[in-house]
Symmetry: C2
Subunit: 387 residues, 2 copies
């Protein structure tokens, strides 16, 4: 297996882009990633695109081919859309990594994109529900806020959890988002304001939920031989793991953990030879406030039952023991579904370069965690500054 | 690169399956492929699923994870849906081949599935149109029958083409379909009956168009080490190529050829060390009658301008110089979009085993050709009986 490097990254802001088409968003971010890489477009040998619901929401598929043409990539290279619900972006990243690691290509463009903000809440909810086993769980009437509301109750029952503790995750991520120019909904919030926000799926309130977003993020991965053109420090992919889990809620014996995350993290640690204590900065899948608590424990970063307490004690802030979601995460940066996994890589790369607007001091090793549906798909990547 | 083999295949019939869910179709075909392979399910290291429009037509995504659970695959293996319009199945096959060739897995399950027959013609047409660059070509009002109607006119202008010549493709494939128990619409047709069928997009008439279908096909690919359990002759993947082309119709300088096919075929011949004259049997993408003519020339099987004449002279029949679509092809077997590329592999494997109901005598080398949209994605595979 060959070493794989991040040669360039690009991103649109996450938020509302009513005047830009979904392929336009992707092309804008792609141009930025290619330009900063210094890699000639003719060297790009494949494109992977992560997208979840452009069919139902935009009436568009074959986006991989459409974006390749927009960006001016060489004709006839393989262009593939991959889908695994909210983990679609992470899956695209892993396939690009595989193609280079296996020696099939020297440069692969990885695109994550989604456009959702034009659709009604009902349309978005219905489209997002395609991420569960609708045949079995659909008739229950459960939506994803409902599922994570259940997870909160289960966590509270097993470990104890107060509204104030969960609010501390929201407060941290919203404040982080305020420092990130790409973020959709940064804010300075108080516990009282969070408690006063509308109830969505008891006990989840509005500020506990990520927004619907438009956005694109792009990474150009290359083998070592193509890196010379870049002015940035070498960022190496130390591990890239992809797993799956049950799409059916009743098959999850414990709603306070996702198997897919636990296994992906274990594989990523094994692949990289690192452990949780080596990770300086993490961008993880906080689609809801309580998800950050569960994810941080599943990734082995925080002991079981301590996720919320660590947030409340500022141990997951930019100055803390492990910086979690300095970008603002999905809660504040936004969640253009297919783009999220690549957006996380974008953020970690800025951290490792030392150029992040909410910089974690001396960050050398970063992790991304992208989770789909009921844990049906998951990717965990570890990136590091190459010696 | 390691050698890759077909250890087992399975398929539902193509047609209408109103009482089976889309994941049920996939699981039925998968069980068959796994059973006949003799490979223990616990050895399967990944799943790729090709599907195009289950989101818009079935309100279901994450099918890769859902099917893996239904089939009882090991928990936490990577499960990925890939999409490239009508070439989605072929793209899934190629990714499974890559994973084994690169040594990342020893056994990969490849699933192709679509369920369309429950939807109205308007819904199906609108969903299929997601396979073109809707931003640019949508406003023209063009549909896929419209595009292939234009291709027919362009071909007639460049090379000459009569209604009778094109009808000979329909007559051959419909008759072949009648011998295939999996086929949706086999028939004995006369030129007069074809000429009397309703006009769809002048000059394409009803019998020139493939039907909307439900169906699933599954292949289990393995490395050499896992083959011992199978009672069937060893079938080896000699080449697997994936390409792309312009999604925009105006960017095709010549509607009588698809770049993506020409390039994929060239790469597949190079990879296998074979040439067109070595191919005994071909399953190619005859979504419309005229498409078979264009495809067979793009694949280098028939000289330019001769595709229709060869059909009329029975040179592409089961007894001819190169047997094209002995399964009935998309025209007669049916076109459950995401399943088609894997269904073609299923058919060629039966031919190479010598067990096909419409057997090509002495077939040792077979080819599959799966084309998406306006040629935006294409895969060509060459399979052979291993020594």
């Amino acid at each position: 297996m060959r070493e794989v490097f991040v040669a360039g990254v690009g991103s649109t802001s996450f938020g509302k882009h009513p005047d830009v088409s979904i392929e336009g968003l992707a092309a804008n971010a792609a141009a930025q990633a290619i330009l900063e890489s210094g890699v000639d477009r003719t060297r790009i040998g494949a494109l992977y695109l992560g997208n979840f619901i452009s069919g139902p929401l935009n009436g568009k598929e074959v986006l991989a081919g459409i974006v390749a043409e927009r960006v001016g990539l060489p004709g006839n290279i393989p262009c593939t859309k991959v889908e695994g619900a909210c983990a679609s972006g992470g899956i695209a990243f892993r396939h690009a990594w595989m193609a280079i690691a296996a020696g099939m290509c020297d440069a692969v463009l990885v695109v994550g994109v989604e456009k959702m903000s034009h659709a009604s809440t009902a349309q978005v909810t219905s489209a997002l529900n395609c991420a569960m086993d609708n045949e079995h769980d659909g008739p229950s009437g459960l939506t994803f806020p409902g599922l994570f509301g259940l997870a909160w109750r289960s966590y509270a029952h097993q470990y104890g959890l107060t509204r104030e503790e969960v609010a501390s995750v929201v407060i941290k991520n919203k404040a982080n988002g305020l420092k990130n120019p790409l973020a959709q909904m940064g804010a300075i919030l108080s516990v009282e304001e969070i408690q006063a926000s509308p109830m969505i799926a008891d006990p989840l309130q509005m500020f506990d939920c990520c927004p619907a977003s438009d956005g694109a993020a792009v990474v150009l991965l290359t083998s070592a031989s193509l890196l010379s053109g870049s002015a940035f420090p070498k960022i190496k992919v130390l591990a890239s793991a992809q797993t799956s889990g049950s799409p059916r809620i009743a098959h999850h014996a414990d709603l306070c953990t996702f198997d897919a995350t636990v296994t992906a993290a274990r594989r990523a640690y094994e692949m990289s030879g690192l452990s949780a204590k080596d990770i300086n900065v993490v961008e993880l899948h906080d689609c809801f406030s309580v998800a950050e608590i569960i994810d941080s424990e599943d990734l082995g970063l925080i002991p079981r039952g301590q996720g919320a307490k660590w947030a409340q004690e500022s141990r997951t802030s930019v100055e803390g023991e492990v910086a979690i979601n300095p970008s603002g995460g999905l809660l504040a940066k936004g969640h253009p579904v297919g783009a999220t996994g690549i957006g996380q890589v974008y953020e970690v790369v800025q951290q490792l370069r030392g150029t992040h607007p909410n910089q974690v001091k001396g960050a050398n090793i970063g992790m991304t965690h992208n989770l789909g549906g009921t844990g049906v798909a998951c990717t965990v990547n570890i990136l590091g500054v190459a010696e």
